[in-house]
Each structure stands twice: as C-alpha cells, then as structure tokens.
Symmetry: C2
C-alpha cells in the first residue's frame, strides 16, 4: 500500500462514527450519578457536550484498533483522555488564564455558570477521568498492572511535566519574546503530551510490541507538534483576517507561537515536514494504519491548504 495516498479512505465518515461512539460512552459514564440536576453536574456536562471533534479519544481508538483492540477495551481510557482535555479547556478559558468568553462559538463555562462553578467543574472532570479509569467494571478484561501503567502515563502527560507544565510555561512566556526552542517545549508539553499519551495508550491496550510502540510513539510526537503548529497557523490567519476587518483582537496577550517566531512560511514548511515524518512511521503497518494516516493529513492540511 502506498500511504502517500489516503484518498480512498472516507475520513469524514470514520470521524463521525468514532466520535459518536465516544459521545455515547461519555454519556453513559457521566450518567451514573444520582442527583445529576445539580449545577456542578450541568457545568461538567457543559464542558463535555457538545464536544469538538473528539480527536484525542479517536486517536486512542484508531491506535488501539490498529493492533486489534476492541472498542470497549479502549473506551474508558479514550474517554479519560477526553475528560482531561475538557477540564483543561474550562480552566484555560477562565479569566485567570486566557480569559476567553467563547469556546467553539458558545459562551465559555465561566460565562454560563460563574467562575467558581467553572473552576469546580474543571476539577470535577479531571478527578472523574481518574475515577473512570480506575473503575474495575469499566476496565474489565484489562490486566490491573496495565490499567495502572496507563493511568500513570496519562497522569504524567496531564501533569506538571505535560499539560499543566506547558500551560505554566505558556503563561510565563506571555508578552515576552520567545525563541523557537521555548515555543517547541511549550507545544510539546501543552498539546503534544496528551495527544501522544492518547495514541500510546491505544497501542498499549492493543498489545503493541516494543518496536511497534516505539514507532507509534514517534508518530504521536510528530503529530502532536504538527497539531499545535497547525492551530497556530489557523489562529494567525484568523487574526490577520480580523485585523483587516478592523475587529478588536483576542483578549489574551500575545502567545508564543510558531508563526510568530519563524514566520508563517517556515511554520508551514515545518508542518509539512512533520506530516511526512509521521506518515513514514506508519508505513510498516500498511492499510491497518489508514485511519491514523488520514487523521495526520487532516490535521496538517487544514493549515497547509490555502495561503494566509
């Protein structure tokens, strides 16, 4: 198979099916509580539904299915990843951090429920992720040693060496001149770590060999960085468009981004390069890796397609 082409693969259909699977599972996991009409539950749900594209949990599914793992084995962990992503967005939008009033075109959680409740909803979702993954009914059939190792991997990715640490570096870099090394470190920790963990967790649940896991890990590292660079390019494009229309900019301070440091042309070159590198790692897996390849293309091409 030539992985340079994923044309015959219907990614839209694939993403639709997988995100619906993820949504159903999240729905079941979050429905287990009595008294769910309480504000905190509504605030937590608000952070989870409707979600975005569910790219992270879909990566767990795609990576696990590449190694033959059934969806029900993957879902508690895929959803754990998504709950952590959802918590991080709620906290990120708070005035103490990015101070964003909108999330996916809708009022941010703190605009709807107030800052205190939004803060607690984020805390609740983060805790819920670990409660879900340590639930022996949810993870039935997965060896406890492996469950623990996956919880540990995800906690590491979400914690001070990953997501939280990346956010902190990002916060400190605000308004300062950042160099490329700083931008990459922030990206790798803030965005890359969780994406990488999502992918590795799937592969580990599928029983990938060490060599296979090493390949999947490199794919995940390239994809994680590509993901954030693509976002940066799209943000820069949106900002340019907004300022051309005389609209007021984002409330947040200038962030350390790829296009800001190396320019849009080089950012796009780097993105194209990362896409090729990620696809290269998938080659030995052949057609089974079509979903992962198509996702990588999809992530990169939204930012490569047109000029800013």
């Amino acid at each position: 198979m030539n992985l340079a082409s994923t044309d015959d693969f219907d990614l839209d259909d694939y993403l639709r099916r997988q995100s619906s699977t993820v949504d159903q599972a999240l729905e079941i996991y979050l429905r287990k509580y009595p008294g769910a009409q309480q504000t905190i539950f509504r605030a937590m749900r608000y952070g989870v539904f409707p979600g975005g594209k569910r790219i992270r949990p879909i990566l767990t599914l795609a990576s696990g299915e590449l190694f033959g793992a059934p969806a029900n084995r993957l879902l508690p962990f895929a959803c754990g990843v998504e709950l952590i992503h959802a918590y991080s967005l709620i906290h990120d939008d708070l005035p103490a951090l990015d101070d964003d009033d909108l999330r996916r075109g809708e009022p941010a959680a703190h605009k709807v429920f107030g800052q205190g409740m939004a803060l607690l909803a984020g805390d609740g979702l983060l805790t819920e992720a670990f409660q879900l993954m340590s639930d022996k009914d949810a993870t039935q059939g997965v060896k406890p040693e492996l469950v623990l190792a996956l919880i540990h991997e995800l906690a590491h990715a979400a914690g001070v060496m990953g997501l939280v640490g990346g956010q902190a570096l990002d916060l400190e870099a605000e308004g300062k001149e950042a160099d490329l090394a700083t931008v990459e470190v922030i990206h790798v920790r803030k965005t890359g770590a969780l994406i990488l963990a999502a992918i590795r967790i799937g592969a580990r649940l599928g029983g990938a060999t060490e060599i296979e896991l090493a390949r999947i890990t490199r794919y995940g590292e390239f994809l994680g960085l590509a993901f954030q660079i693509a976002d940066d390019i799209l943000d820069a494009r949106a900002e340019t468009a907004a300022s051309q229309q005389g609209e007021t900019g984002h409330k947040e301070q200038k962030k350390a981004t790829y296009p800001l440091v190396v320019g849009i042309v080089q950012a796009r070159e780097r993105l194209g390069e990362l896409l090729q590198l990620s696809l290269f790692e998938l080659e030995p897996f052949g057609a089974r890796s079509l979903p992962l390849a198509a996702i990588a293309r999809h992530v990169a091409e939204r930012a490569l397609s047109t000029q800013a």
Copy 2:
C-alpha cells in the same frame, strides 16, 4: 483498656513523628522532577510546604498501623490524600471561590504567584496525587487490584460526589438560609469524604476484615462530621472575637455552618455526641486504636474546651 481515657498517650509526640514522616515522603515524591526551579514547581511546593497538621495523611498511617501495615506501604496513599487536600486549599482560596488572601497566616498561593499560576498549581497537585498512587515503584508490594481500588476510592471522595460536589453545594448555599440537612450534606461531602477515604484506605492497606472495615468506616464518618463542626465552632468563635474588636470580617459571604443553623450550644452538643460515637467504634480494637482515639478527642476538644 478503657478508651474513655487516652491520657497516657502522648498525642503531641505522635503527631510530630507522623507528620515528619509524611513531610519526608512528600519531599521525596516532589523532588523527582528535573527543572524544579520552574515557577509551577515552586507554586506547587508552596501549597504543600509547610503544611498544616497533616491530619489526613496521619489518619491513613494511624488506621493502617492499627492493622499492622508498615509505613512505606501506606505513604504513597497518605501523601496522595495530602496532595489532594493541598490542591483543594489552593483552589478554595482563589477569588473565584472563597477569595482568601491568607492561608495559615501566610499569603495564599494566588497572592504570591498570581491567580493563573495558583490555578495551575492546584491542577498540578491533583494530577500528581494520581500519578504518585499509580507509580508501581512507589506502591511496590501492594497488589495492583488493591492499588486500583484505593485510587478509585480516593477519586470518588475527591470528585463530584465528594469534595468537589461539596464545594459546589457550599458555593450555591452562600448567602442563603440553609437548613440542617443541607449543612450536613455539604460537610459530609466537602470535608467528611476525604477524611473518611484517608481512614479507610489505611485500613484496607492493613488488610482489615469486612467487619473491621465497617467499624473503621463508621469511626471515619463520625470523625469527618465532627471535624467540620469543630472547625465551624472555632470559626464562629474567631468571628465573634474579631467583631468585638471591631475588625472587618471575612471577605467571603456567610457560609452554611452548624452553629449558624442550630446555634453554638447545640453544635457543641452534637460534636460531643459524635466524639463518643467515634470512640465507641474503636473499643473492640483496644490499645492498638489509641492513636485514632486520641486524634478524635483532639479534633473535638479544641472546640469543646472553652465557651465561645
């Protein structure tokens, strides 16, 4: 042995030794990171050192030792409990919740590091708790099934059915007339759940039988509620003293507290009753339960000793 008397037990010395054991373990667990001079690490440490009395992790140790568990088996979980407690205090002090500028007489984390960094430090500590408890080196010798069950129990106590949910109810009750049932539910979830989990986790690590665990659970339930009522009484006393001296009150709104709902006299009666109930549950364990009995007395007696 007559548990009505714990006079011969040197609680001060016991608490000093145990809190020093906890501090040393926390120091080791938090020291594992490279680049620890980064602000986020300093903010996380600031939330942990110097701590308060370390009552929660000491309860895990005391409960575990009652059933013969060695300290090294208990410490990862005792410290997990304390990290969760530390995170909750940092978030609680933020302007979005209680808006407290001081914590144990020192500037709150958000006054030192800013709100964004304090928010992230709390997130980091919560995540770190789960990373620590899922670390197979740290929990060596404990069966993976049990490790998972304890992580699950602690996540439940920290989550939306426990600490986070209690905080949310407390936030919603602010400035409203609360009845006794509401106050008890808030207390049980906000304070009681984590104390109960701390105690139960120790007993489970010590291999308590089901009957023993049921007793220890009741002890923990009584103690958890007693703990918060005692705090409420002490707070009410401090506020009365402050207002007599013409000092401005607390920044936060009136909270739902026991003395506010039933009056200080009845609150104190209820506290005395809870103390007796908790001690009663310990009787079958004899002298081995002296530390737990002395801690219960200590918790209650600070609020029973003098008139408000």
